[in-house]
Amino acid sequence: MESVFAVVVGILYATGLYLMVRRSIVKTIFGLALLGNGANLLIFTVGRLSAGRPPYVPIGALEPLPPVADPLPQALILTAIVIGFGVQAFALVLIKQVFQTVGSDDVDEMTTTDRIADDGGQG
C-alpha cells in the first residue's frame, strides 16, 4: 500500500506547489497547508505502513508486543503538525493584514508597503 501513498504524496506536493505560485495571495495559504500535509504523509509512509498496533506498552509487559508501528516518524510528525498549524495561523493573519494594508491580493503588485488601491481593503 506504500506505493499508493507515494502517489498521494506526489499529488499533495504538486497541488500545494501549484497553489503557492499563484498570484492571488490567499491561494498560497491553501498551498502551504496542502504541502504540510504532504510532507507529514511522506515521513509517515517512508517509515513503512504497518497495519499493526500503536507503539504502546501494555500493562504487565516491559516492551510493546510486535508487530508494532514505528514510534519515531510518529513523534516527528506530531511536532510537525503542531508547528504547521502555527505557521498556517500566522500566515493567515499576516496575509489578511497585508491585504488590508496594501489593498491588493496580487503578489506581483506587492512591491511596496503603501496602499495600492483605495477600494480593496476594508480595515
Binding site: 500500500m1 506504500e2 506505493s3 499508493v4 507515494a6 504524496v9 499529488i11 499533495l12 506536493y13 497541488t15 506547489l17 501549484y18 497553489l19 503557492m20 505560485v21 499563484r22 498570484r23 492571488s24 490567499v26 491561494k27 491553501f30 496542502l34 509517515f44 517512508v46 505502513l49 497495519a51 498496533r53 500503536p54 507503539p55 504502546y56 500493562i59 516491559l62 516492551e63 510493546p64 508494532v68 508501528a69 514510534p71 519515531l72 510518529q74 513523534a75 506530531l78 511536532t79 503538525i81 503542531v82 502555527g86 495561523a89 500566522f90 493567515l92 493573519v93 493584514q97 491585504f99 488590508q100 494594508t101 496580487d106 503578489v107 506581483d108 506587492m110 480593496g120 476594508q122 480595515g123
Partner: protein
C-alpha cells in the same frame, strides 16, 4: 625596520587631531618623519650595498603560515630612499601649498598612510605582504585623487584609478598565488632563486600575463594609460608624489623585482618591450598636444614609464643599468617640475602654458629649480639626466632585438621629452611677460625650496656620478639582473655614437618646439584645447557592466515571491533529480499494491480534496476541501497504528477550519490573475515536482529498512522513562529539548498573530 615601515600608519592616526589642534606646528613637524626614515634607511646602506640584504620576519597569520616579512636589498633601498626622500619634500611643500585648508589633517593622514604602504610594498619579503601593501597604495591613491570630493570630476577620476589599478591588483593576486604554487614558497629570496623552474613551467604564460596585468595597470602602460592624466584631479603635491615619483613606479618595481624570475624569454621581450615602446610614444605625443602644465607632465610621465618598461623588457645588463638610472633621474626632475607647476598655480594663478611667461624675475629660485629640472629632462650635460640618456642610447643600440628600430623610436620619444622640458620648464619663466596674471603673489619659501632640492641633486649627481653609483645604483642593478656588476658612470664618454644621438635628440626636440604651434594649428579644431582623455573604452566598458548588472538584477532579483520560490524549489528538485538519475533509477520493481477498500478510500479522499482545493473558485469550498484532506490524512494515521497523530490532526484540522472561516470573509475573493499559458506552465512544473517526489519515495521504499533508533525507544520507554505511550515518551523525555523548541515556535507564532491583530486595531482607531 618593522617599526620604520609601520610608523607611517600610526602617524596617520594622529595627523587629523594634530593638524586641528596645532595647524602650524603639525605642518612643521610632519616632514621630520620622512626625513628621519630617510636617514634610517641611509644608515643601512653599508651592508645592503655589499649585497647583504636586511631581513625582518614577524609572525602574522601563523595558522596559514603567513609571515610579515621585510627584505631590504639594493632595489628596495633605492625605492625606500626615493619614497622617504621625495616624501620629505612633499611634506615640506604641502602645508604652504594648501595654505591652511581645513582638511589638511585628513590629507596628511592619507599621505602618511600612503608612505607607509609604499615602504611596505617595496620592502616586502614575501608575496602576501607585497600584495597587501600594494593594494593599500591603490586605496590611498583613491582617497588622495578624490581629496576634492565635492567635485564630480575628482570622484570619477578617483574611482577610475581605483578600478583600473584594483583590477590589476586582482590579476596580480592570482599571478602571485600561481607563482607561489609553482615555486612552493611565497618568500622572496626563495622565489628569486627559482627563475629557471618558473620559466620552464607550463604555468609560466599565465603567471607572466597576470603579473604584467598588475604592473601595467599600476604603471599606466598602454592600453591602461588613460587613468594617470585623469588622476591629476588630485592636489599638485599628491600628483608629484604618487602619480609621478613613487606609486606609478610600483609597476616598474614589480617588473624589476621579478626580472630574475620571469625575464629572459622571447615572450617577456615582446610583451614588455612592445608595450613599453608603444606607451612611450603615445605618452610623448599626447604630452606635446596639451596646454595644461599638469596634464603635459602627466602624459610625459606616462612616456617615461614606457621608457622604463621598454628598458626592463630588453633586459640586457646595459638596459637594466639605464632603467635604474632613469628611475632615479625621472623621480628627481619630474617631482621638481610638478612642484614647480603647483607653485606657479599658487603664485601666478594659472597652469596654462599659453598664459604663463617671463616669470623668472618674479620667482627667481623657482625659475632656477625649473630650469635645472628641465635640463635634466632634456638630458643636457652636466646633469644626471645626460648620463642617463647616454646610457639609454648605449643600451638600445646594443640591444639584441631590433636595435635600429628601438633607437629610432627612443630618439623620437626623447625628442618629445626635450619639447616637454622646454614647454614646462623654460616656457613659464623665459620670454615676454605674461599679459594677464593679476593673481600673482610672492611665494612662501618652502614652495620654491622643495622643487629646488631635487633639481639641484640632479646637478650634483651629474657632476660626481660615482658618489652614489657604488652605494645606491650598483646594488640595485645587481638585484635586478641577479649578478654582481661594476658600473662606473662618467659624464664624458668621448666623441661616440651616443653623443651624436644626444645631439640629434636635442635637434629633434627643438625642431618640434619651434614648429609646434604651426603643427597644432593643422590639427582639427576639437584637438586644439588639449584635455585628451583616452578613456572612451573604459567608460563604455563600465557602462556595459552597469547595464549588465541591472539586467541580471531584473532577472534574478525581480521582487516577485513566486519566482524566488520556483527558483529555490527548482534548484532543490533539479539537484535531487540529477542525483536520482546518476544513481541509476529505481532499484528493483515494486509490487502492485494490495490493500483493503478502506485504505484505497482514504487515499482517494485525500486526492479528491487536494484537487478540489486547486480548481475551485469558491473560498468556502476550498476551506471545506482542505478540511477533507486533513481528515483523510488522520484516517491514514488511524489505519496504520498512530492514534496520537490522528487525534492531534483532528483537533488541529478542526481548529484550522474554524480559523479559516473566521478570517475568510475578510480575505479577498479567489481571483483568476494568471493567463492560461502561465497556469499550464505552473501546472507542468508542479506535476514534475510531484512526480519527482513520488519517484523519490519509490526509491526510498525499495531500500530495505535498516534497524534504527526506534528499537531503542521501544525497549527503553518503560524501564528508563516510565512511560507506556512510546510516542509521548519520545516527545517529552527522549527528545524533550525538541519539544521545548516547538513550544517556543508556537509561542512566537502566537505573539506574531497577536501583534498583527493589535496593529490592525490601532489602525482602525486611527481612522
Amino acid at each position: 625596520m618593522l617599526l620604520a615601515v609601520l610608523c607611517g600608519f600610526v602617524a596617520a592616526l594622529f595627523a587629523p587631531l594634530g593638524f586641528r589642534r596645532f595647524p602650524l606646528w603639525a605642518g612643521r613637524f610632519a616632514p621630520l618623519l620622512p626625513l628621519g626614515l630617510f636617514l634610517f634607511f641611509l644608515s643601512h646602506i653599508g651592508p645592503v650595498s655589499r649585497g647583504e640584504p636586511v631581513v625582518v620576519t614577524a609572525p602574522w597569520i601563523p595558522s596559514l603560515g603567513i609571515d610579515f616579512a621585510l627584505y631590504l636589498d639594493g632595489l628596495g633601498m633605492l625605492f625606500a630612499l626615493l619614497v622617504t626622500g621625495i616624501g620629505f619634500l612633499i611634506f615640506l611643500y604641502t602645508p604652504a601649498y594648501l595654505g591652511g585648508d581645513r582638511r589638511q589633517g585628513t590629507l596628511f593622514a592619507w599621505l602618511f598612510a600612503f608612505m607607509a604602504a609604499m615602504l611596505g610594498t617595496t620592502l616586502a619579503g614575501n608575496l602576501i605582504t607585497l600584495f597587501v601593501f600594494w593594494e593599500l597604495t591603490g586605496l590611498c591613491s583613491y582617497l588622495l585623487i578624490g581629496f576634492d570630493h565635492e567635485a564630480e570630476g575628482s570622484r570619477s577620476a578617483a574611482l577610475q584609478a581605483l578600478l583600473v589599478t584594483g583590477g590589476g591588483g586582482l590579476a596580480l593576486l592570482a599571478g602571485f598565488l600561481l607563482l607561489g604554487g609553482v615555486v612552493g614558497s611565497m618568500e622572496l629570496p626563495v622565489l628569486l632563486a627559482s627563475g629557471d623552474l618558473v620559466r620552464n613551467h607550463p604555468l609560466y604564460l599565465p603567471i607572466l600575463l597576470l603579473l604584467l596585468g598588475g604592473a601595467f595597470t599600476k604603471s599606466a602602460q598602454f592600453p591602461f594609460h588613460f587613468w594617470l592624466p585623469n588622476a591629476m584631479a588630485a592636489p599638485t603635491p599628491i600628483s608629484a608624489y604618487l602619480h609621478s615619483a613613487t606609486m606609478v613606479k610600483l609597476g616598474i618595481y614589480l617588473l624589476a623585482r621579478f626580472s630574475p624570475v620571469l625575464a629572459g624569454t622571447e615572450l617577456w621581450l615582446a610583451l614588455v618591450a612592445g608595450v613599453g615602446g608603444l606607451t612611450m610614444l603615445v605618452g610623448g605625443i599626447l604630452a606635446v598636444l596639451e596646454h595644461d602644465l599638469k596634464r603635459i607632465l602627466a602624459w610625459s610621465t606616462v612616456s617615461a614609464l614606457g621608457i622604463l618598461t621598454l628598458l626592463l623588457g630588453v633586459g640586457t645588463p646595459a638596459a637594466i643599468t639605464a632603467a635604474i638610472l632613469l628611475l632615479l633621474t625621472h623621480a628627481l626632475y619630474k617631482s621638481s617640475l610638478f612642484l614647480v607647476a603647483g607653485a606657479l598655480d599658487h603664485g601666478a594663478g594659472s597652469r596654462d602654458t599659453r598664459q604663463l611667461g617671463g616669470l623668472a624675475r618674479r620667482m627667481p629660485w623657482l625659475a632656477v629649480a625649473a630650469i635645472l629640472a628641465a635640463l635634466a629632462m632634456a638630458g643636457l650635460p652636466p646633469l644626471f639626466g645626460f648620463i642617463t640618456k647616454e646610457s639609454i642610447y648605449a643600451a638600445l643600440f646594443l640591444s639584441p632585438w631590433e636595435p635600429l628600430l628601438l633607437t629610432g623610436l627612443m630618439l623620437a620619444a626623447n625628442g618629445l621629452m626635450v619639447t616637454v622640458a622646454v614647454i614646462t620648464g623654460l616656457g613659464p619663466f623665459l620670454g615676454k611677460g605674461a599679459p594677464a596674471l593679476a593673481a600673482y603673489h610672492p611665494l612662501p619659501p618652502t614652495l620654491w625650496l622643495a622643487p629646488l632640492l631635487p633639481a639641484a641633486l640632479g646637478l650634483l649627481l651629474g657632476l660626481v656620478p660615482n658618489m652614489v653609483a657604488p652605494l645606491l645604483l650598483r646594488p640595485a642593478i645587481a638585484v635586478v639582473q641577479a649578478a654582481p656588476v661594476n658600473t662606473v658612470l662618467a659624464l664624458w664618454h668621448g666623441f661616440n655614437f651616443e653623443l651624436l644621438l644626444s645631439a640629434a635628440t636635442l635637434v629633434v626636440g627643438l625642431l618640434i618646439v619651434l614648429s609646434r604651434r604651426r603643427l597644432l594649428a593643422l590639427l582639427p579644431a576639437s584637438w586644439q584645447e588639449g584635455g585628451f582623455t583616452q578613456d572612451g573604452g573604459f567608460v563604455l566598458l563600465l557602462r556595459a557592466l552597469l547595464r549588465g548588472a541591472r539586467l541580471q538584477t531584473i532577472i534574478v532579483q525581480n521582487g516577485r515571491l513566486r519566482y524566488y520560490l520556483m527558483a529555490t524549489i527548482g534548484v532543490a528538485m533539479g539537484s535531487m533529480g540529477l542525483t536520482f538519475l546518476e544513481s541509476g533509477g529505481l532499484p528493483g520493481s515494486l509490487a502492485w499494491p494490495s490493500g483493503y477498500l478502506h485504505e484505497w478510500l482514504a487515499a482517494g479522499i485525500i486526492v479528491a480534496g487536494a484537487l478540489t482545493v486547486t480548481v475551485t473558485d469558491s473560498r468556502l469550498g476550498a476551506v471545506v476541501a482542505l478540511g477533507t484532506v486533513g481528515y483523510g490524512v488522520s484516517l491514514v494515521y488511524i489505519l496504520y497504528g498512530a492514534p496520537d497523530l490522528a487525534m492531534t490532526q483532528f483537533c488541529i484540522e478542526t481548529l484550522a477550519i474554524v480559523l479559516f472561516v473566521l478570517v475568510l470573509y475578510r480575505l479577498p475573493l479567489f481571483t483568476l490573475l494568471s493567463t492560461p499559458v502561465v497556469r499550464l506552465r505552473d501546472a507542468c512544473m508542479a506535476a514534475a515536482i510531484g512526480g519527482l517526489m513520488t519517484l523519490l519515495m519509490f526509491y526510498v521504499l525499495a531500500q530495505p529498512l535498516v534497524p534504527h533508533v526506534s528499537d531503542f525507544f521501544l525497549a527503553n520507554s518503560l524501564p528508563a522513562a516510565h512511560g507506556r505511550n512510546v510516542v509521548n515518551v519520545i516527545l517529552v523525555d527522549f527528545r524533550a529539548l525538541d519539544t521545548l523548541g516547538e513550544i517556543v515556535v508556537l509561542a512566537v507564532a502566537a505573539l506574531g498573530v497577536f501583534g498583527l491583530m493589535q496593529s490592525r486595531r490601532s489602525d482602525g482607531e486611527g481612522k
